[in-house]
Subunit: 143 residues, 2 copies
Amino acid sequence: MNERWLREINWSQDGLVPAIAQEVGTGRVLMVAWMNRDSLRATAETGEAVYWSRSRKRLWRKGEESGNVQKVRSIRLDCDEDVILLEVEQIGGIACHTGRANCFFRRLEGDQWVVTDPVLKDPSQMYGTAAADTAAGKGAKSE
Amino acid sequence: MNERWLREINWSQDGLVPAIAQEVGTGRVLMVAWMNRDSLRATAETGEAVYWSRSRKRLWRKGEESGNVQKVRSIRLDCDEDVILLEVEQIGGIACHTGRANCFFRRLEGDQWVVTDPVLKDPSQMYGTAAADTAAGKGAKSE
């Protein structure tokens, strides 16, 4: 595969861009994670979303532990080439490590963030107990 | 307004988070820009999207030049508190500085980015000639 399309991305100084996963059909924004060149290439080649885990500093195939992989229907690029938009089919119906359908489960009401979406599956059933403990920690969105 | 909700955001080292604008009704992802604390506060207080322009280092009320403001219907926060999702009504039907409805107008087909969405309005009519020249430049998404 000619890699010119990868060079057209306006990567940040640390070689990353944010990638939005949007659910096909519902249009729901499921999550945002990061991609580097290798993860975007792998996403295009395999047809499944592969991100870059900043906390673990390695490629992270979404669903590699939970089974909730994302089948990629399209890959889009924005006007200044620094954000990726994926249209995905979310296997298992759960994108968030908290066991919810998507990561944007809090809405601002007045001056408070209010949880609006239910937990569909206990994280300990998705990852095992140790991983769930990690997943419950702040900033540990990745699996 | 109690500002605890602003302190719950996991701001980056430079005090920013990405903010996605999604169109109410269609679910279309229009654009991604950046917010700092002041811009998010202003967005909540005014009900119109206010971003932080990294290139111009100042608050940027979306539509301040073009008139294409974004009326904000909801503000959401993701699981690790570092991405904002706005549900907006896009006045004028144009979110992108290129004169397109949204910024994600290129799709990867094989190994090429292919433009899939038409220009609805000449940028020179949105911003005046000088601004349009700037807007046509790489990385100058903000108005």
